[in-house]
């Protein structure tokens, strides 16, 4: 005996509703927690007073370059994996 169509479609509808509800609840909860975290982190470490003259983009670019160079240098040397 195969399940009839309504026997298949009804659970499908139920799963659709439950599934979307869970996805929304899960991500909404995450939205809330991220907000709380951001505030906590902001409270604990007061915003650094930087970015005075140079745009953050410039700094980021430079940092990326620096990171690449350092990474290469570090990679070549000291491999303290034990």
């Amino acid at each position: 005996m195969e399940p009839s169509l309504s026997e298949l479609l009804l659970p499908g509808l139920k799963l659709m509703i439950i599934g979307m509800a869970i996805v929304y609840l899960f991500l909404a909860l995450l939205v809330w927690i991220i907000g709380v975290t951001a505030r906590l982190v902001g409270t604990m470490s007061p915003a650094p007073i930087q970015h005075t003259k140079r745009s953050s983009l410039e700094v980021e670019k430079e940092e990326a370059e620096l990171v690449a160079v350092i990474a290469a240098a570090v990679e070549c040397q000291s491999r303290s994996l034990n």
Partner: protein, 376 residues
């Protein structure tokens, strides 16, 4: 003469069956799409090649003891998709999402592509020749997640015999995002909406980025353990990336490891493109449903963004970035940016769209967890 006869009997020519030839043609078709059309070549090239290899008569490359049968163990055990997911985690920057967390809701909305398709797949049983069980329907629906490793992981658990068709559909439609999404996005938005400029994203501290994978993992552990393997490995990759103290691991996870696993995964997926599993009416259904899934997901994302603008009109979201909620990182974010620039060439939506884009990855992993928990 015996030797010659024996040899002739061992040739492919004397053993070719029409359906194997068709499947080899399908494999070459995928290679064409991968190379010439650049349809997700990193995956579709190995998948297509695996399809060709596994349909060579007499060679038995995909049969017990053949190379592809060993590689398939990496999918069956879940190891390959999870390692890919770890590598993707190591490539993902959650910064734009953390800067504007409400874009997570766009990533949630787009998962309607999954659950709507599940319902559609069940409804397809009305058509003679289509015969999808509940598990099949769930495995097909995950195509709507627009996320390759998630699709493969779920399909390998729920409907391994559909794995080939599902993976091909998932990656093909991901490649077709620039064709599928724009008409839907234009149809559902007004010119003013498409012109909305969004506030510059706030700076996200390194600490927030380090903490986030931990939070996501805890939430998953508490609420949806069935999604924990996927989300866990994703979080591991992301933590390795962001923590700053294990850069050599991060580099390897993003490069050599994911490259090797990609080759193996693709070949193994291709080994499931056999005639008896692919040349069926159901495959047509899967292809149709996959296109619907992407369309549903795109529409839901856009409509959710419009709803959010109604609810909180003081801080408007450009609804085009809702379409990026389907994931398909970073293709759909680029599409959102491009459609936006058709209206205003100076409106840069890319970073804003990356938020829902990576949220879509989380969303589809959550949806996968729901399916794995409730469908058996």
């Amino acid at each position: 003469m015996d030797g010659l006869i024996q040899l002739w009997a061992s040739t492919g020519l004397s053993n070719f069956q029409a359906d194997q030839a068709v499947m080899m043609a399908v494999g070459f078709g995928l290679l064409y799409l991968a190379i010439k059309k650049e349809f997700e070549p990193l995956l579709l090239l190995p998948i297509g090649f695996g399809a060709v290899l596994s349909n060579i008569p007499m060679a038995g490359i995909a049969e017990e003891g053949g190379l592809l049968s060993y590689l398939y163990l990496g999918i069956k055990s879940g190891i390959f998709p999870l390692l890919i997911f770890m590598g993707v985690g190591a490539m993902t920057d959650f910064g734009p999402m953390l800067a504007n967390p409400k874009t997570l809701l766009l990533g949630a909305a787009a998962q309607f592509g999954i659950f709507g398709t599940l319902f559609g797949a069940l409804a397809l049983n009305l058509i003679p020749g289509m015969n999808f069980t509940f598990k099949d329907a769930a495995a097909i629906a995950i195509i709507g997640g627009a996320d390759g490793p998630t699709s493969i992981y779920v399909a390998s658990k729920l409907a391994p015999e559909l794995l080939g068709a599902i993976a091909v559909a998932a990656y093909s439609y991901m490649a077709l995002v620039p064709l599928i999404q724009p008409p839907i996005m234009r149809a559902l938005t007004t010119e003013e909406e498409r012109l909305i400029e969004m506030a510059q994203l706030r700076h996200v501290s390194r600490l927030e980025k380090i903490i986030f994978p931990g939070i996501l993992l805890i939430l998953t552990a508490m609420l949806l353990p069935s999604a924990a393997p996927l989300i866990g490995m994703f979080c591991l990759g992301n933590l390795i990336r962001e923590c700053g103290v294990v850069d050599r691991l991060s580099k390897t996870a993003q490069n050599e490891m994911i490259n090797v696993v990609t080759i193996f995964l693709g070949l193994a997926v291709g080994s499931k493109l056999s005639a008896d599993q692919f040349l069926r009416t159901e495959t047509l259904g899967i292809l149709v449903l996959g296109a619907l899934a992407f369309s549903f997901g795109t529409a839901s994302g856009v409509l959710m963004a419009k709803l959010m603008n109604v609810i909180s009109p003081e801080n408007k979201v450009n609804p085009l970035i809702g379409a990026a909620g389907v994931s398909a990182v970073p293709m759909s974010a680029r599409v959102a940016n491009k459609v936006g620039q058709e209206s205003n060439p100076h409106n840069f939506l890319l970073m804003h769209a990356m938020g829902p884009n990576v949220a879509g990855v989380i969303g589809s992993a959550v949806a996968a967890g729901v399916l794995l928990a409730l469908v058996q």
